[in-house]
């Protein structure tokens, strides 16, 4: 298998994971698609640097979260330049309709969480363990546990609203 084919296979295999991470960080569809493209491109560039010190899935999640944080920084600055109120909230929650569907509620609530909590809970829901989450975020496991428990409480509160 050629290098290009291998990268294509990796991208196809992990596209749903990357799409979910993009959706957790961006509600606007056009911006989300841009973010997904940015993540995919970053994964393509980075796969060559994969040394196998974690699973491929963890590696992809790390790159995806890296790009998502960069996106949040850029979008917050952009919204700030246009003097929009509460840019972080606007950025992460541009959905205008309230659905009764559980999935919609979960995603809406997740986008309202502070970034550090959102990252931990989204990785947890992807099925990563504490060590893998710690590796992705660059924090220690105790910190992951603390953030996860706070994230859970906040998410529950948001979903009950």
């Amino acid at each position: 298998m050629s290098k290009k084919d291998h990268i294509h296979e990796v991208l196809l295999q992990y596209a749903p994971l990357m799409a979910r991470i993009a959706a957790t960080h961006e509600a606007d569809q056009a911006l989300r698609e841009d973010l997904l493209q940015d993540i995919s491109l970053a994964v393509w560039h980075s796969v060559e640097n994969f040394r196998g010190d974690s699973s491929m899935k963890t590696f992809i999640a790390k790159v995806a979260h890296n790009r998502a944080v960069d996106h949040v920084l850029k979008e917050t600055r952009r919204q700030d330049r246009h003097n929009l109120s509460d840019p972080l909230l606007d950025l992460v929650s541009t959905d205008s309709h309230q659905h009764s569907d559980n999935t919609y509620d979960l995603m809406t609530a997740m986008r309202r969480l502070p970034l550090k909590f959102r990252q931990v809970i989204s990785l947890q829901l992807e099925g990563f363990n504490q060590a893998e989450i710690a590796h992705t975020l660059g924090i220690n496991e105790a910190n992951v546990a603390k953030r996860a428990s706070r994230a859970r409480v906040q998410l529950q509160k948001l979903m009950e609203q």
Binding site: Q37, L41, K62, H65, L73, L137
Partner: protein, 184 residues
């Protein structure tokens, strides 16, 4: 895993946006090709301009000041191309940083950016002052006013643009830093 988390996990997986993977693959293949062409174009253009400067230095320059000017100009385009190439590499490498390391990288980038523009402003001010002194001497001694006036006008515009960029960055520096800190 407790039932609530299990339910959330199911909902989260169900929330996967619809994907056209073939289109995505074609888009990023094309984006990557464009990036690659741009990188090569930058490098080739920089090399070409530097080679032209060498040609001008050897075959076109007729006086020592012209030779000195071309000698100074020669390494700049290729140097800029190499700098852009290395910067691109560094940015690609930053994609594999964990979130915490990325935020530290962004913070350092912000500090470097403001230092870069501060140095740029100082350099531009010195060059502008030197240009004004040279112009004054030239106008007073040789009465070559038009060419010097044009150069001072261009230099002043560059200085104003540099000053504006620096002040803009300085004004927003704290806000940007706070934003990075808040994401940690």
């Amino acid at each position: 895993m407790d039932p609530l988390l299990e339910q959330w996990q199911k909902d989260y997986k169900n929330a996967t946006p619809k994907l056209d993977t073939a289109a995505l693959l074609s888009q990023i293949t094309s984006a990557r090709k464009k990036q690659s062409i741009k990188a090569w174009f930058d490098l080739v253009a920089g090399t070409f301009v530097s080679l032209f400067c060498i040609y001008a230095l050897i075959f076109e320059a007729t006086s020592t000041p012209e030779q000195v000017l071309y000698a100074i100009l020669t390494p700049l385009p290729i140097g800029f191309s190499i700098w852009a190439f290395l910067k691109r590499k560094k940015l690609i490498k930053s994609n594999i940083l964990d979130v915490n390391a990325l935020l530290l990288f962004k913070k350092q980038q912000l500090i470097n950016q403001i230092n870069y523009w501060r140095l740029n402003l100082i350099g531009c001010s010195i060059l502008w002052a030197a240009l004004c002194i040279t112009a004054a001497v030239s106008v007073l001694m040789y009465n070559h006013s038009t060419i010097w006036l044009t150069q001072i006008c261009i230099g002043t515009l560059v200085l104003i643009a540099t000053l504006a960029r620096y002040l803009h960055l300085k004004l927003n520096f704290k806000k940007k830093l706070t934003l990075i800190e808040n994401l940690k």
